[in-house]
Symmetry: C2
């Protein structure tokens, strides 16, 4: 089954990519952009068919490899 | 209001980052990973308060800047 993981920087962690996008949007004439943050989305295709088990596996993957939990939050959602 | 944009590579476009993650998960002992794709998630904080208008703006931003529509799909969702 497909599991999606959103990995975003924690609040307070500087996000230069987000700032660059915000600046570029302003230069293109888009007004009213108060903030932009960029994160990652990882789509996992697992052979596991049980949703709860697949999410538990995805959580372990996040803790061990996918996310740097010092500066990043992760959120697991179903595809 | 907050708008989230998922930007993912189209099917058929090579994703070396995803392959690297898949390989690393295997090396860490995670079995049953059939595929991994990595994309971006962009969180826009817009002054616009009307949902439909904000999503229309986000769509225009995707077409003009955020996504490379030749190789990437984008999907707009609410935070």
């Amino acid at each position: 089954m497909k599991i999606l993981v959103d990995i975003t920087l924690k609040i307070g962690v500087l996000d230069p990519q987000g700032k660059a996008i915000q600046h570029a949007l302003g230069a293109l004439g888009f007004a009213g952009v108060d903030g932009v943050r960029q994160g990652k989305v990882i789509e996992l295709d697992l052979t596991e068919t049980d949703r709860a088990a697949a999410e538990t596996t995805a959580r372990a993957m996040c803790e061990k490899l996918l996310a740097n939990t010092v500066i990043e939050n992760y959120e697991i959602r179903s595809a």
